[in-house]
Symmetry: C2
Subunit: 396 residues, 2 copies
């Protein structure tokens, strides 16, 4: 049988590749600290579940393909607080930020096209891009410079006649890098000058730890044709399992193409869209509390991590991940060993191994991404385990 | 700006194209009988909502990418009643049958490949196929023969060196055609002989009106490498807004590729997967009651429809659609007129116009698909409106 050559170029998720090894370890009674997936332990706001419980229609019908008006309007009110005016037609509800990205990339990219993405990047970008037939042109960054990518010469060096778009994640996953308003403005300028789309994945917007005001690329005028923002309730409201995301753009041609995808899959689930309306009604204090908690976790984890001899990592300024180089030969091999051949008092840990975060071959082999989505004392214990494991692994 | 040439070849849904005209008509106070979308008015079983209400986890987490075990096991029990033994790994939970189809076609098809689909077919197949870069090779059928397609010579005449798969919908949407076990067996044989995938969209399985036992292609042994079944809770349990579907196949390579898609989009919504478990616990009497209701609606609608002079339609033997040729020049134009220039006692109707159900240019221009998803007396009234409208339209 013959399969899609595009799908054959894709891989299983590095965050989920070791799930079966993990299941076997858990069957042996081993406790695993899951730092591999950005699944927060922060409580989902009860307002979400209340809304679900109060659904009283007798038939669970398709929602409109572009999203329920109630959700679109809630998103509009949220953006109004950021100083951004949106019409309903500027928003398409998606089944998670993931589907939002898939429909945008499928609307833009053709076989042979290129999209510029700073690396390390979220590995599923590779899957979404590859399925369109296009290729990622990586803009390589390094921890020594805090993964800085917003440098005009470096960005422009990646642009050629095949380039169709630039995709940035701000705050960054996996790096935690946060760009300044000036840098973002420059990135938008570059996109407009070169007639490119600029896709800004802003799902971690609220998670910035330096006291910065909340930033969205939508706050800058004059980039209506170029700009697409990806957003989601998953991280913002600790509602990952709801799968509610959105595409936001003031380019009607792009939105018309993306709507074909939306209509093709009929609709995004109805209940979660309704319940997400309640999430958007929460006031600022919700974010303040969550932000304080994540900042504390970051600080705790970073202190422990940096104390491990040979570890290199930049301070993440946003999102809830740390990217770090470990003093081991290969973090994928190390992960397999951690699950199958190691335990410390019946405990071990998982992270996302680094290579799939890079498009450049050979890069990231000794790096990991770890999510600080557990309580501080759990993170401390996980870092202690990591320190012991590195020592034992290298002493084999 | 440049857009995807594949997306540019796609269209908005013919079922949803006139939604804005409909909204304007409703603003004028016109009541619309919606026969355009397969959105049943049958109550969603209360067990679904009970399960949603009883969700008590404090965090709404990602489900596993391949689906919640509880759902996979419920699907396995359902298929066991059909005499089909499935392992968990034979099933991937999807966000509706639509996503299930997208992930399968994206796993199989490449640019330049072909997929054989009997026409008229469900128009979103066109979108899903086109986004992969492949093309539909239509196997043309006609109402005079009950839209019969399972004829070896005709099927084989559509197969060439580029063919990768055959996609059938049984019971058929839009035609209502139901194939016999012998015909299905032959279709499977053809696929195996030519080393093709055969994708069987069986989302309407329970809706057969001739007393046939329930049929699944999975009941035939020996086609493990070739066969993929698409299933969904949407129609079966009148839970369209839940968006819970599934890919079922015993071909591990295919399932491995489809899992990359699943992991890329992280997971399908958690609550609906859990609540769908309760749907699969319903006993046969649920289906008997729903089947009896739809059969009655079909009979009522068909009698009225056939009494309209100049209408041609085959008796649908399954699903809940009637495909019919109307005595008008162009059913797309007629639809626009119905919404903007016509009403009968403040009422009008919508259907899905026919051309997008065909890949062959020029076909279906005078045809419509109508869903008998409303109560019998509403369907009777809708057919009376249709009769008057045809007369007025042609007398303009």
């Amino acid at each position: 049988m013959k399969y899609s050559s595009k799908m054959e170029r894709c891989s299983l998720s590095p965050m989920r590749k070791f799930n079966k090894d993990a299941a076997r370890a858990e069957e042996r009674g081993v406790k695993i600290y899951h730092l591999n997936i950005g699944q927060p332990d922060i409580l989902t706001p009860p307002a979400f579940f209340d809304a679900v419980r109060h659904f009283s229609e007798p038939v669970l019908s398709y929602a409109p393909s572009n999203g329920l008006n109630a959700l679109l309007d809630a998103v509009r009110r949220y953006y109004a607080r950021l100083g951004v005016t949106l019409a309903r037609d500027d928003i398409l509800a998606a089944t998670g930020g993931s589907e939002a990205l898939m429909m945008v990339l499928s609307s833009i990219l053709d076989d042979g096209d290129e999209i510029v993405i700073p690396e390390p990047f979220y590995p599923n970008y590779y899957t979404f891009t590859t399925l369109t037939g296009a290729k990622i042109r990586p803009l390589t960054t390094c921890p020594e410079e805090g993964y800085r990518y917003a440098v005009r010469e470096r960005v422009e060096a990646c642009i050629n006649e095949r380039t169709r778009a630039i995709l940035i994640t701000n705050p960054g996953n996996p790096t935690g890098a946060v760009i300044t308003p000036e840098e973002l403005h420059m990135m938008l300028d570059i996109a407009r000058e070169h007639e490119l789309f600029i896709i800004c994945d802003e799902v971690y917007r609220e998670f910035v730890y330096g006291g910065e005001p909340l930033l969205s690329a939508l706050q800058f005028d004059g980039y209506e044709e170029n700009l697409v923002v990806i957003d989601s309730v998953s991280k913002r409201f600790s509602a990952c399992g709801a799968r509610v995301g959105m595409v936001i753009s003031k380019n009607p041609t792009l939105m018309g193409h993306a709507l074909k995808w939306c209509q093709g899959r009929l609709s995004s689930p109805t209940l979660e869209q309704l319940a997400s309306v309640a999430l958007y009604e929460l006031d600022e204090s919700y974010f303040d509390a969550v932000r304080t908690e994540y900042k504390h976790r970051r600080d705790v984890m970073l202190a422990k991590l940096r104390a491990i001899p040979g570890v290199v990592c930049a301070e993440p300024r946003g999102a809830f991940y740390v990217m770090a180089a470990l003093p081991v030969d290969d973090t994928e091999k190390f992960q397999r060993w951690l699950l199958n051949d190691f335990e410390d008092q019946g405990e071990t840990l998982m992270y996302a191994f680094g290579a799939p975060f890079y498009a450049t071959p050979g890069k990231g082999v000794n790096e990991v991404r770890m999510a600080y989505v557990l309580e501080a004392k759990e993170l401390e214990r996980a870092m202690d385990i990591l320190a012991k494991a590195i020592e034992q692994y290298n002493a084999r």
